[in-house]
């Protein structure tokens, strides 16, 4: 990510330190993760230490310090999904794509993450792939769902 692009994101938020989380979110939207160089630039641009930027970037679940796959799978592990068997669905996805939650596949196709609740509990268990909600998931529906994302 070039410095100019980062500068324009910082300017969008008036270089306000209070907007550090949204700034990092914008960078991640562009880059798919938070590259180290970008964090350095953000620290310089806001006049805060790199360690403060880093501590925020690693504190929040939404940020990834590693490049992510082309498709982001989020498995909802909220209570409503849990009591309806979300764990089994997550394990099935882990078996099918051969990685654990928090990792990305070697071919760069998928990243797998969990989220505590997406607030669509009527549809639980829910899996969200690239922002699309797949509701009432069961282990036998996982294969078909994954096929849609190359």
């Amino acid at each position: 990510m070039d410095d100019k692009k980062i500068a324009s994101i910082l300017d969008k938020y008036d270089r306000d330190t209070g907007q550090l989380v949204p700034i990092l979110q914008d960078i991640q939207d562009e880059e798919n993760y938070l590259p180290k160089e970008a964090l350095v630039q953000v620290g310089l641009g806001l006049g805060i230490s790199l360690s403060q930027v880093y501590s925020v970037a690693t504190f929040f679940k939404a940020f990834s310090m590693k490049p992510r796959g082309r498709h982001l799978i989020n498995v909802c592990m909220g209570t409503a999904c849990h009591v309806r068997g979300a764990e089994r669905v997550l394990e099935k996805i882990e078996r099918d794509i051969g990685i654990e939650a928090g990792d990305s596949t070697d071919d760069g196709r998928f990243s797998l993450e969990t989220v505590n609740c997406v607030g669509a509990c009527a549809l639980g268990p829910i899996v969200i792939v690239d922002g699309d909600y797949a509701g009432q998931m069961r282990t036998d529906k996982v294969g078909k769902m994954l096929k849609k994302y190359e």
Partner: protein, 617 residues
């Protein structure tokens, strides 16, 4: 159009309503996140297309969440209130040709009352809605959240106008205090008292802040999401009134990034309110100025805690701090700060508009008004319900929620998220309010109500919440960082058959240390799921520890899968699904065989079997 005085607002309200014929039919389609996931967008497009094609003079209005998520996509035909559920694209032409043009009801789309098999025509007849008292959510089904005029037409911003033009700040605080409103985010602190102390706190430069906490983190709770998505102006109106009363000119809405639609809708609402002079400089020409900034959260549960949220707003990690100095004195950037939850703010216009005396008639002695709950889990009618405080748990679960699916037996209802507890069947007569829930060891929390049936293991549920909190603990104080981990280790051992005598006593000791010594509410209430399950479901713990059995059939290490040969039709579906070839075919139409040595207990066969032939014990 900038409104320059309260009279301008009144004139605008009148002119919008003059243009609108109250008898003109319109179709309201639920566009909340649940219905979105069901595909309501394509149904909306189809409805609009069909209206044009058939030449019907009808408005198609996409609204916020109607609440009955179980039955989405939901379509309601107003003004009659005809209620269609589980609408599919192919039903759309008939809705227009029959209902809109001929006035007939499309019977196949009606809700069938499970008890009587009667088809119910009107939304208000459906038991799910009939027992609710909808104030905060009342307008969700009528307004397009992206239209400020829809909100104004229904009397929106009238309370703001009244407050700014005819009430002194202290009068507003007195009214809110008198109403008995308590914080809806979970703590239940009296809102009026919080406002008073923020107003009274010293600020050298006079700067004060108000914050709307929309970082709804309790898993299983989504009322704030639906409110921000469906009626964002009601929250803004509450915030402006509060800011005027407290003496703040800057406000923040801290909202979860997992709620993209809510962010879009509230952003749009802020722009519109500024354009109409209801937010920003010199609001309604009264000289009061107030602006609101949106900040998206980064997915940390602890940021729902007020001091952690404020740290995050300052660009720091969301670490809470000890509250020997209240945030009302030193909060954001060390200035007096008042933080309230989404639902609390949305109550404010009602109190100002209708008066504290009217408001305090709703609810119980100690808890006034209504509360929105998200009724989820093992329940027939999943959705958002708004009920007066004091309603009994069983009314919510059975009358509104329609009971437990598949004829299974109720086991527990969990309230208050990871800070709450599990309430057993023997307490279903409990009136729901802040104090009663506290008494039984649970809490109101933000209003999640997760129903569990006989197939849910209570030790597993306790483990689930503690595991969640271990991941979300900020790590600043030792009792929470280390204590929760030890609790999780013990619970894990119990669910894996390694439980031993003395475990329960150790759990109790760890829990009481956490109660007494954790820095913030996350740690201080974390023992609740463990303590309530120990109190009400001790026999399940004993079964795990002594008999090495999981009675609900959940804990993997303590269960086995087998095939009921009588029930198995030999359809072979499970053979294909089994990832470890533990299930083998014995020939067509013959029951399959299962090799326990190869079985990894993944549940794939159980999920796919249509004949209940997979037995978990």
């Amino acid at each position: 159009m900038k409104l320059k005085s309260p009279a301008d607002l009144e004139a605008l309200t009148k002119s919008i309503n003059d243009k609108r014929d109250p008898n003109k039919p319109y179709i309201s389609i639920c566009s909340g996140t649940g219905c979105h996931a069901y595909g309501c967008e394509s149904i909306t497009d189809a409805l609009k297309e069909e209206v044009t094609k058939q030449g019907a003079d009808v408005e198609v209005r996409t609204t916020g969440c109607h609440g009955f998520c179980e039955r989405g996509p939901l379509v309601v035909v107003h003004p009659k209130g005809i209620f269609y559920q589980q609408v599919k694209i192919e039903d759309v032409p008939e809705i227009i040709s029959e209902t809109m043009l001929k006035g007939n009801v499309v019977e196949k789309l009606l809700y069938v009352n499970p008890g009587t098999e009667e088809k119910l025509i009107h939304e208000s007849d459906v038991p799910f809605y009939a027992k609710q008292q909808r104030l905060i959510f009342g307008n969700n089904g009528h307004i397009d959240p992206t239209s400020i005029e829809d909100y104004i037409a229904l009397g929106g911003y009238a309370a703001l106008s009244k407050a700014l033009s005819s009430m002194k700040p202290q009068q507003i605080i007195d009214e809110v205090t008198k109403s008995g409103l308590r914080g809806r985010g979970g703590g239940g602190f009296p809102t009026g008292r919080k406002w008073q102390s923020t107003r009274d706190a010293e600020s050298e430069d006079g700067v004060r802040y108000v914050i709307c906490n929309a970082d709804e983190g309790d898993p299983g709770a989504y009322m704030d999401r639906s409110l921000v998505e469906g009626n964002p102006h009601s929250i803004l109106e509450g915030m402006v009134i509060g800011a005027y009363a407290i003496g703040a000119n800057q406000g923040y809405i801290y909202i979860r990034h997992e709620y993209p639609l809510a962010v879009v809708n509230v952003k749009k609402a802020i722009e519109q309110a500024e354009e109409y002079g209801l937010l920003g400089d010199n609001i309604l020409g009264t000289g009061f100025s107030f602006s609101i900034t949106i900040v998206k959260g980064g997915g940390a549960f602890v940021c729902g805690e007020s001091t952690a949220l404020m740290a995050s707003l300052e660009g720091k990690p969301g670490d809470p701090r000890a509250k020997y100095i209240h945030t009302s004195e030193k909060g954001l950037w060390d200035k007096p700060t008042n933080l309230n939850n989404v639902e609390t703010w949305a109550n404010v216009p009602w109190i100002i508009d209708k008066g504290a005396d009217w408001y305090s008639k709703i609810g119980t002695d100690g808890s006034k008004g209504t509360k929105v709950f998200s009724l989820v889990g093992k329940i027939n009618n999943t959705g958002l319900v708004e009920v007066p405080m004091g309603i009994r748990l069983k009314e919510i679960i059975y009358d509104i929620g329609g009971g437990i699916p598949e004829g299974k037996k109720f086991k527990a209802v969990q309230t208050g998220g990871p800070s709450g507890g599990c309430i057993p069947e023997s307490l279903l007569d409990l009136p729901v309010d802040f104090d009663e829930l506290d008494k039984v060891g649970s809490m109101m929390g933000s209003g999640g109500m997760i129903v569990m049936d006989e197939t849910n293991c209570m030790v597993d549920i306790a483990k689930y919440f503690i595991a969640l909190l271990v991941g979300e603990s900020c790590g600043k104080c030792v009792p929470c960082r280390e204590g929760l981990k030890r609790i999780l280790e013990i619970l894990t051992a119990i669910t894996e058959g390694r439980g031993k005598d003395g475990d329960i006593e150790t759990l109790e000791r760890l829990c009481s240390t956490l109660y007494d010594s954790a820095l913030c509410a996350l740690g201080g209430t974390a023992p609740n799921p463990v303590m309530t399950t120990l109190k009400y479901f001790r026999d399940e713990y004993d079964a795990h520890i002594k008999d090495k059995k999981c009675p609900a059939g959940v804990c993997k290490e303590l269960i086995t899968y087998s095939i009921d040969e009588e029930a198995c039709t030999g359809c072979q579906r499970c053979v294909k699904e089994c990832p470890t070839e533990a299930i083998a075919s014995q020939g067509k139409k013959e029951p399959v065989s299962l090799d326990p040595a190869k079985c990894i207990k993944c549940g794939s066969c159980y999920d796919v079997c249509k004949f209940n032939a997979v037995v978990v014990r």
